[in-house]
Symmetry: C2
């Protein structure tokens, strides 16, 4: 069994000092978490408390079952998953309705269960399907969609849809109907937020600028709540968060409808994968700095448990947040227990904020979301990728544009499809070199790069990649080409020093090649076959049927097939 | 421009001798082609003439534009594509209706255009997505579905559907309604066919047995037509092929409905790929035996042209047939012009057969299909694959069962998905070895296999695969593991002798690794970076930012980082 309770190590030498540092880090996290939880709930189309609820139990559960020792990550709502939640639920129910909340809980549960299953089956490698350019294009596209989705709250108008072709025409039509007070409040919040986040430009010391930046969202929200309550802005038509249930979330399994869950499955899988990639990248980067290890399968279990906990407490899908984890990482000594402290503080915040939260204007939340996601649009990454590889730049751009125009799922599927296609295209043309003997040695090198000697009747071909189905056909074609232009060749030696595996397709191809070569009066041989490959070949009939020999080295092969080879090894030309 | 008219070479030294041989091969092909064309048209749910029409113009077009010199392939209807056609069209129109024929022509045109586009864009490599086990499972599953689909004609009952769960219950219910005379005629044909195909068992010489086997289907059909006409079987309720238009097919673009074409697109793509794989495998195997070359992109063009020609003459999707190409291959000297001769003979057959064809009972065609597809169920391939690799055996079985239960498209998608997953799983865990210096040499080998010496402060890691997105995360995790257990290490040298490329994801990962290692007070270096990889790295900022050096060889790296290395090279321990 691979599960060893990871918190044990932390608890064994826990003391008051560490508790003090963890409490400090937890406070910093909560200063960021409260406004983000409220904002991302709005982004997901859920009541504000869903974000807060998703920031209590999941933190505890992750800390208890998943956190690698020494890696203090902050779980909770994150922007991209919130948007993905909104995209998944929009076709099923009206945002804000009770059916919508039920569907959200079902989606969150599904995400959690998928992550748990992936963890138990050790399927974390599925995340490798998503290349960096595709993720970058996806996140940038999602950030733009998030920003655009919040314009309706900033303008005080109502528009449906998610993708640009759905939202922009509606927004344009509604421009004359902009609600003045809402817009003024939103723009004011935006300006204040941007100011508070860039105080170092105004000469404030870097340390203070950072501290103020971290509390800026909370400050603006508290201020806006006060203004809204005092001026009775709701009466003027400014939309606010509205009534918030007092007290604690009630725990319970969401009501499950199998048909609904089946519809939500593709979205849940994507949310699970994106959340996992984000979380495991953060964990990996925090761990390596401290020369520590993470266990990706354990991370899957922790993240799965956190999502199940979120579903049970009426929350939304959760993952690790980079900004909040970085805050915890500032105090380099924080332990995974920071999550437990943060959960306690969040509980207090929920109890304390509930009575006043209803005054919070939606436009202020929208402004804080806008400010937060600007940084997610990753233009430098596009520039670097494009310069480094046109093909991968195209994959990035395709994903980005696909997300903007066709939505999150189609966008990412386009990107994944394109990058798999590129990958397959590259790997289907592996590097192969005709090799010859370096005179005066037993070495065989590429005849195009070195002065070598070849035997007229023996062709030596080195394959620099494993042989499997993407390149099996190419191998056959390449050998066909070589044989067609070398009528005097009687032996073909395949030098397998770079072949780490041969799959069933390649084995079929080798059998066909051997047979076709025999029709053309050429005998196939192998050399330098690695141990594991040889073991597997012995399970097939190939070694009996192909009629050639398997040589220990290319030199042995040539010495057997052409006696002059041994002479050449001694006399440099 | 890559197109050079391939027939030119054939025509340059064509003479009466060659023409004689081509005519003989063409006659042999037609003996097989006539009954197959009729049968596969029935399999596709089309009128019998559609099969004949698909066997005239496509042969000429392929011979003129696509055929590689010296490779005499026989184009025309093939069993698996006929079934795929039936599967694609069944949801859109009733088999035998005019709308069905129009849709079939549209599908064929789409297949042709897709193949042409793939040829011009050189996208033949897409076929590499289909591994041999998946193709084998697909063809075996299709063969079973084909056999089951013909039982209705053999029993003289009517049943809808394609997959086993659709067809079998219906067949079972209809058992009491079996039409006696039809069943008797079908079973008689089946027995005679099986007899005629296995005459060598009865002591007939191998040569004659083969000759009779090749004409057996035609013989039985002619016999059945005569019996049916003389005994007026149609009046007894035996279903026959029915009225066949006399004269030649009229040429014309099928009426195109964009909505219909969009619905047919996925099926057309699959038909194009499967047909291409079948054709290019046959061409490759014929060519290599004669030390000749094929151009897969040219094959795509030829096959695309043949399908367009088939669509214009009211036919069905076509590909190269293995059995018929093998017949042409018997006369080892046949040229691509054999197709032109065969087309001429088929034209005569159409004109000659049209008046009598209507008497041909459907049950006899069904019997000939059953006999033909038995050999397509490839049990030995399952056995070999399973023994060679459990995982690939599973992919084969999944495809097979998927085809039987869920139909052709879902079955093949399951197989492709599973084999890509397996592939990604394998390639996401590349072989990496910590290497040490072999004392008394400048060589560095795997410390687990050789007696080596390591520097305490320098860790050398050799990666035996290119670095790209499927394994980028693994590289980071592996280095994290090594660093975590080696607290005294100050330098990490990545030996890149096996790295043929580094994609953008892996570059990001390398940058992150370098930065995280610096936080852990370890410096990253590279050694033995190949030229093309280095060229590409120079396009990024990595070489400036990672802070380490790029060494020509692992030995240079160690000599620079640990002076004792040079001493060890001289003193074996």
């Amino acid at each position: 069994m691979f599960y060893k309770w990871p918190l044990l190590k932390t608890l064994r030498d826990y003391n008051r000092d560490k508790a003090g540092r963890d409490l400090l880090a937890a406070s910093l996290i909560c200063l960021l978490l409260v406004p983000q939880a409220l904002a991302y709930a709005q982004l997901a189309g859920l009541p504000a408390v869903a974000g807060l609820y998703a920031s209590i139990l999941p933190l505890v559960v992750y800390a208890l079952i998943g956190a690698s020792p020494g890696v203090a990550m902050s779980f909770g709502p994150v922007a991209v998953l919130a948007l993905m939640t909104a995209a998944a639920l929009a076709p099923l129910a009206a945002a804000g309705s009770a059916a919508y909340s039920v569907a959200a809980a079902g989606l969150t549960l599904l995400v959690g269960v998928l992550l748990l299953v992936m963890g138990f089956l050790r399927l974390g490698f599925i995340a490798n399907f998503l290349s960096h350019p595709v993720i970058s294009g996806f996140v940038s596209g999602a950030a733009v969609l998030i920003a655009v989705s919040q314009l309706r709250y900033l303008f005080g108008v109502s528009v449906d849809g998610l993708t640009l072709p759905q939202v922009l025409p509606g927004l344009y039509e509604q421009l004359p109907a902009i609600h003045g007070p809402t817009f003024a409040l939103g723009m004011a919040s935006l300006v204040v937020l941007l100011l508070l986040r860039n105080l170092q430009v105004l000469g404030v010391s870097a340390q203070w600028a950072l501290r103020i930046k971290q509390v800026s969202a909370l400050l603006v929200m508290l201020l806006a709540m006060a203004v809204s309550a005092l001026l009775h802005l709701q009466a003027d038509g400014v939309k606010v968060v509205g009534q918030v249930p007092a007290g604690l979330p009630s725990l319970g399994l969401p009501s499950l409808d199998l048909g609904l869950l089946r519809e939500l499955l593709p979205a849940a899988l994507l949310i699970a994968l994106v959340g996992f990639i984000e979380s495991v990248s953060i964990a990996q980067s925090l761990a390596m700095r401290k020369r520590q290890l993470i266990n990706p399968d354990l991370e899957l279990l922790g993240q799965g448990g956190a999502n199940v906990a979120s579903a049970l407490s009426g929350g939304m899908p959760v993952a690790a947040s980079f900004s909040r984890s970085a805050v915890a990482g500032q105090s380099n000594l924080a332990t995974p227990l920071v999550g437990v402290f943060a959960a306690g503080l969040m509980l207090a915040a929920v109890l304390g904020l509930a009575p006043v939260l209803r005054h919070l204007p939606q436009a202020v939340l929208a402004a804080s979301i806008l400010v937060a996601v600007i940084g997610l649009v990753d233009v430098p990454s596009l520039r670097h990728t494009w310069r480094y590889s046109r093909a991968e730049g195209c994959a990035l751009l395709t994903t980005f544009v696909g997300v903007l125009l066709q939505g999150l799922e189609i966008g990412i599927m386009l990107g994944v499809g394109l990058s798999l296609l590129l990958f397959l295209w590259r790997t289907s043309r592996p590097h192969m070199a005709v090799v010859g003997q370096v005179p005066g040695s037993q070495h065989f090198r590429n005849i195009q790069r070195y002065d070598t000697v070849q035997s007229p009747s023996v062709l030596s071909l080195r394959v620099d990649e494993s042989l499997y189905f993407p390149n099996a056909r190419y191998l056959e074609a390449r050998i066909g080409e070589l044989i067609a232009v070398s009528p005097e060749v009687r032996h073909l030696v395949l030098m397998c020093s770079g072949v780490n595996q041969i799959d069933a397709s390649a084995l079929d191809t080798l059998e066909a090649i051997a047979e076709q070569l025999q029709s053309a009066e050429v005998q196939l041989h192998l050399s330098e076959v690695k141990g594991p490959v040889m073991d597997r070949l012995k399970r097939s009939d190939f070694l009996q049927s192909f009629g050639g020999q398997v040589f220990l080295s290319q030199y042995h092969a040539l010495c057997t097939l052409d006696p002059r080879c041994a002479v050449r090894a001694l006399t440099p030309e």
